[in-house]
Symmetry: C2
Amino acid sequence: MAEAATRRRSRGGGGAARRAERTSISVETARYIERNIPNFEILNEEALEIIEANAETVLEEIGVNFVNNPGALALWKEAGASVDGERVRIPKGLARELCKTAPSQFTQHARNPEKNVEIGGRNLVLAPVYGPPFVRDVDGGRRYGTMEDFRKFVKLGHMSKWLHHSGGTVCEPTDVPVNKRHLDMLMAHMTLTDKPFMGSVTEASRAQDSVEMCEILFGKEFVHDNAVMTSLININSPLTFDDVMMGSLEVYAKAGQACIISPFIVGGAMAPVSVVGTLTQVLAEVLAGVAYSQLVRKGAPVIFGAFVTSIDMNSGAPTFGTPEASQVTYGAGQLARRLGLPFRSAGSFCGSKLPDAQAAYETANSLNMGLQSGVNFMLHSCGWLEGGLVASFEKFVMDADQLGALHKMAQGVAYDENAQAMDALREVGPGGHYLDCAHTHANYKEAFWRSELLDYKPFETWSEEGARDTMALAQARVKKLLDGYQQPQMDPAIYEALTAYVANKKASTKDSFS
Amino acid sequence: MAEAATRRRSRGGGGAARRAERTSISVETARYIERNIPNFEILNEEALEIIEANAETVLEEIGVNFVNNPGALALWKEAGASVDGERVRIPKGLARELCKTAPSQFTQHARNPEKNVEIGGRNLVLAPVYGPPFVRDVDGGRRYGTMEDFRKFVKLGHMSKWLHHSGGTVCEPTDVPVNKRHLDMLMAHMTLTDKPFMGSVTEASRAQDSVEMCEILFGKEFVHDNAVMTSLININSPLTFDDVMMGSLEVYAKAGQACIISPFIVGGAMAPVSVVGTLTQVLAEVLAGVAYSQLVRKGAPVIFGAFVTSIDMNSGAPTFGTPEASQVTYGAGQLARRLGLPFRSAGSFCGSKLPDAQAAYETANSLNMGLQSGVNFMLHSCGWLEGGLVASFEKFVMDADQLGALHKMAQGVAYDENAQAMDALREVGPGGHYLDCAHTHANYKEAFWRSELLDYKPFETWSEEGARDTMALAQARVKKLLDGYQQPQMDPAIYEALTAYVANKKASTKDSFS
């Protein structure tokens, strides 16, 4: 039921078929979600028009900074912006006009073509947590993440039916030098799973390495013609585009690779304390960022990003799963759709230190909001803990299980003759029960979403089995998934070429840990 | 921003003023929620019309049973239904026509008039868990509920800012005889809080006792003219109206007291395994039940109820916070609005045995769905555990805290000049921060919802303070609220009269525990 793509970017053909031969699916992965339910539209037309007009005023009167980036300033000047030092003031309408060449939907290819994802339209693609320096599990507690932890997360993601995407920095592998860890991370995503993944953004050269490794994995020509990575370009809100992130964006845009262009906002600190003020800034930032991507290369696939949360004004701590964050996200989804761009937001956000009730309340608030706000790409959809400082193994599988409920919810409500069930109502009648009627027998297998983690047992059975809480159930599930992990097959020649690339790169540079 | 009531039922005047003198507010209670956000409309017009037509077919062709209730059968016959034994077949259109005399909105009065609630329209009134035979807390584990537990829950409800309503059977006081416990429960609601409450429905005589006790509390004339109770009348789904519940409904309707008329459905057992099939049955049942209430007394205030959950088809256990339950609830809200009746559904539903992550995921799914589906009266909005078998003290305060987030979310998004925050955007500019700007200083206090329970502290502080999980935080909050409890004042003459009524009733009947 996905809407037809209007400016879709996708290829098929022999390359995909050949790659299919090189892989085999050993683990079930759900197809990305195609929504058959409405979006929740929290803003009326008047509010949307005010925000859009104010964002244009912000761009024209206040402007944005492109830091340490003479090339960007030159491009902006040529496009008709006013450039004053690093400040770029964009005449009303120009940024929105430039955004028009960005596709409204695109395919990100996986090495297993069955796991390609369509980003945009009414689709929702789910990717895991991104960026935490720490990891946590029941056995080891909270500690710095390592490459071994990273590989475990990629394996868990591979084994998670409801995750469509392997993500990027699922945790920081702090035991590998900063200037080399992107190579190991890419190698893990490329070899331990056949789901799509993200590239490095911590330096332009590392983005370039990501492109080159993809050229080995997918073939140079294929990468030239298709998006095989979606990478995360954060804006330094308010209104600042730094050279590191823009350097990576430039590499990816030139290579035709997809980027999320994403304001990073803790409301009250990086944006005003009001929802509409925050949305105005988010829209101005995205307009400038996406317009810039199109100045670098017309047609480069980009996503309207919005990482938005609120702040506890008492302590200054970021807070998650809050009503204000939801309101901003609903509004941002409306603005993204009016701009005709895919939308990234939401995730398994929580501030809790443990995968406990607080974590789950906050996360469920955020996941539901993500589905209903029309998010097309949900980074952080599982595993996020402690405001993003921690990637939690147990929470990864808890959240990943809840993602199954989003799939079912998104299917919407069938109302064909079978769904109307008038035969069942007639068969059972007053005072009967439906457990044994023909309609139930014909439909029960697909009728209800079923958790593979949560406890549905009678109290007595649950007690006899140790009265386990969700954390204990999740601990067991992490072990079960990792024990059952099967590495997807890969052409040995490609594996060797990737290994050699990584070894050469590592040998040619001194370690850096800062 | 509540919509104007079209067929509103409410009184003011001298009685209210007098009752205000008799009471004093010692504890803050939020006003009931007036939604300024849209409802989530999951069904399209075609699906809604199919369900409405099918429900009429169910009533006409299959019919409903009114069990052990010759009086009801006579009323139906007189109204034009076909009666065959206990089966009542209702010609198409008749039930919907009869429903038209029910008010679309009504006031339930509290003994403190500031705590009156408006049920219907765009409002949402929150009441606690109802019916569990067991209670649970961290100290005592799971055990049968007692009258002492009951009183503690009523006190917690009184102290909970976001609860508008004291509810009814917050737990079953199993240490009091079945035929007398309603007296003690009513006494607790009437004396330990000044919020509105529910009446007894376990026998017509107990409903009558409830009315008579209210006549002591509010004055006979006031009760004659105003709704002072909202009570829960469950339908024995499928399509069965038993004499106990109908007996109570008859008492309340004749006395002008409000009832929720509520199918009780575990999908797959008491209704078909499909969403639309379930909605068809729910609508047929509510149409018949509400129509019957109007046959008993035209204009009796009633609520379109829908207790709906799904079943785990592997084990037969009811499951909560599931996507199918949400879909049914969204659809039921649409049907209720088309029928012009207040809507009751949702709650802090979960299947978990503990107030852990499972409980919170399931509950948050259900609470969010409740807000967005347009629920007007949310029973079970806090404290529900283990499929409703258990009332949990810790979960009560956890959920009650989340209800604050619903209040903030429901306010919607302001977009006046202050909310647009253009002065803040101009003041801060690229690269700055908003913590100290004038707009933040002027707005920060009301800007963000703040939990009074959850942990927002830095990791180090949290660790030093014992690394408490949500359960431990909740345990402390239960103690804090109970320690701070202050009983609202009451006219001693009324207190004595109530005490005497209860004593007389108890003395005149033998104890019964079944």
